[in-house]
Symmetry: C2
Subunit: 439 residues, 2 copies
């Protein structure tokens, strides 16, 4: 109890940033635009609790144990020990898979859902990494089989979101796991997963590093290692990649299927402007549950790691239910992008107040007409603040100025017996009525 | 690592409910309407992290230690011990106060903010209480003094929110702490806080219980205890409460000030319909930091505890900064209301899909025209889903039916070389073009 009265000096907790109102204004616009784009493709909203059972979180996923925050009630008691351990979700994919399994009988399939929520990672504070951030995800889950249609829809939606946010140019890099896996199989490599893990490090360790690792860790001959890395060089913005892969003379059924699938996706993205996407066979993605299409987005001109990605998985929700539920999904790193663009000075702050109009209170006797005017204007859809006391008009105008409120309204009073409105940008002041005002 | 491959059967975690898409649709509508109403009064959005330092959470507030979830990284290491303890916020008031203190120099005062976020309480699972839920808060904070204007604005906004949600009738009960405190002072009672705590239990223990407790615990004479409870009976929907209090013949300056303030508030709510609010001098509110106006909302006809409330505090943000920062705020229990109305069967489920139109894929050859049509309709603001494969038209229609999509669109194809649209409600099917379609 003694802690209660301690004086606490507030400071930002590393990894948990928060925005001033004028930047939050922009973030909120972003979230609205993302939602609107998702809905325009028929994705419905769901929201899962921030909290899952630890066992659910660990049921599927990569090497994530280190990044999870578990919860403890400050005052533990004997009941606490009996309960399942709870943790904050670290992504939106595992909760979605659990949701689909849990509510299986109440959903219509293909189930298309979006989720725009915070996720938490228990990163070490020292690293300066985000520990709470927004992700915006869409996924489609279907029973037994999932048409390729959705593999083409994902990058389309993704591109449209980035367009809506009006951010610097992005490039969506798309591949298909079947291509690299079939290719490696066709080369006679038996244990494929560790090889793909090393190929996935190309950006970090370079071609020589990859070949060295393949030889040392996967015991490939240096000739085979050199062959294994060939596909990673193939990047085309049309279906030329097919011929380039075929020229490697590797025959494999999975490979052929992968090429067909990626061709379908690329053909169905022909409406996107040149440079918006490319088939990039170096894309592998870290998570082992991807089984087909994989994609990743980067800024074209800004040095930064991935700002969004996703892929197709054969049976993620199936971890939780005895049912084959293939799916495909993408995740957009909203906070990652926002933070980077703030650092680069590329986010123009929005308004400090959502008010369109500040109504002046000339003197206390006018309070009723001020309130009445405000109600009329709100009914017409305007955001209206009424000044809180009858201080000097000059001070009231200064307040509007400081908050960036674009119009100041003068209700009728002794010195001026009619409504007037002042455009704060132009300085123009005109006679008006609440019924006829237009921004 | 062995935990990873364990099969996990999903179930709802007590206190962490989640909604099916058709109910989430309604919840999202609610959140939108609340936000719109808040913004219409010029409140700006802020969002604080879900996480605060434990010391910040405990710096001010009632007996809340038991309700806090603290965080632990699943893989603790030596760095963890050096860090400040973190916890999930249990309300939005303490984080707001911390935010205002921390960003003091970057804010414009009076600072009017709204926050619509989840909060977490570490309740025991057995009690069946919500442990994660939405609250929607507005507060105004000012430097040194805060005009009474805002005390009248709070219940106005509150009423408008409830109206916007179209829920069963509510009643806002308003009082002012200065009235009860001044009255008790005027009666010669020295230690007022414990007396108000007991008076606050009137609903639970009744008048006899209150008098008994006042005598036993606060050592009041039974005559004084009977006198102390008099104000709790006063409930009026106009300013008649003033005369009723005065007739008690208790003279006290704080009391007079409280009556003036509540009169101002009541007069400024005269635009609300009869029955929307009342001056109710039994309202005290549990939190000790309230110093003036206090309010609480209940359903008029449904048995349920408070669905929203708030009040004025002299110096809450001042806990964190050497500056006097009076404020007033209200909090609306979004999830509390939603849950209750769902239980009562009073929430009409919304749509399972946000799509306005499903475009049929007659056969694979039409895919391009389907996609093109979808893009045109999306550009006009419609939410459009394209069917994912060229299965039987009947099956495609059934899908639209199941998801509640109101229009099905047929692109030109061999059997019908023009666009047609079917209204799923009326069954009417008409020739159309993507450019001319209107819902």
């Amino acid at each position: 109890m003694s802690e209660k009265n301690r004086i606490y000096k507030p400071k930002q907790i590393s990894g948990f940033p928060e925005l001033l109102p004028e930047y939050r204004y922009v973030e909120l616009e972003w979230l609205d635009k993302i939602r609107k784009t998702f809905e325009s493709y028929g994705f419905c909203s769901i929201e899962t609790p921030a909290v899952e059972e630890v066992d659910a979180i660990l049921a599927k996923g990569g090497d994530t144990e280190k990044e999870i925050y578990t919860l403890t009630r400050l005052q533990e008691d004997e009941d606490s020990a009996k309960e399942a351990r709870l943790a904050l979700h670290f992504d939106l994919t595992v909760p979605m898979a659990r949701y689909v399994a849990q509510h299986f009988n109440d959903l219509v399939f293909p189930f298309k859902r979006y989720q725009i929520q915070k996720v938490w990672r228990g990163e070490r504070a020292q690293k300066g990494r985000a520990r709470e951030f927004y992700q915006a995800d869409i996924d489609v889950i279907n029973i037994d089989g999932l048409p390729l249609h959705f593999d083409a829809e994902m990058p389309s939606v993704m591109y449209e979101v980035y367009q809506a946010l009006n951010i610097p140019p992005v490039e969506i890099h798309i591949s298909n796991r079947k291509i690299i896996c079939g290719y490696l199989e066709g080369l006679g490599i038996k244990d494929i997963t560790p090889v793909t893990h090393i190929l996935d490090k190309l950006d970090k360790i370079g071609e020589d590093g990859v070949i060295k690792s393949l030889v040392e860790e996967c015991k490939l001959t240096s000739e085979l290692a050199t062959k294994a890395i060939q596909l990673s060089r193939i990047k085309t913005d049309n279906i030329d990649f097919v011929e380039m892969v075929k020229s490697q003379n590797v025959k494999n059924e999975t490979l052929t299927q992968g090429l067909d699938e990626l061709s379908f996706v690329v053909k169905n993205l022909s409406h996107l402007p040149k440079g918006a996407f490319k088939a990039d066979l170096s894309i592998i993605r870290g998570l082992d549950y991807y089984t087909g299409t994989v994609l990743e987005t980067k800024f074209r001109d800004l040095e930064y790691s991935s700002i969004g990605g996703g892929g197709r998985y054969d049976n993620l929700a199936g971890t939780f239910i005895n049912q084959k539920l293939p799916g495909i999904g993408i995740s957009i790193g909203v906070t990652r992008i926002f933070t980077k663009l703030m650092e680069e000075g590329l986010i123009t702050p929005g308004r400090k107040s959502p008010a369109d109009i500040l109504i002046v209170l000339p003197d206390e006797a006018q309070r009723d007409v001020v309130n009445e005017t405000a109600r009329k204007l709100r009914n017409q859809g305007y955001n209206v603040e009424t000044y809180h006391n009858d201080t000097k008009i000059k001070k009231q105008l200064a307040y509007a100025e400081k908050k960036g409120i674009p119009y100041v309204w003068f209700p009728p009073f002794s010195e001026c017996p009619r409504h007037e409105v002042k455009n704060m940008l132009t300085g123009e002041q005109t006679t008006i009525t609440p019924e006829t005002f237009k921004k």
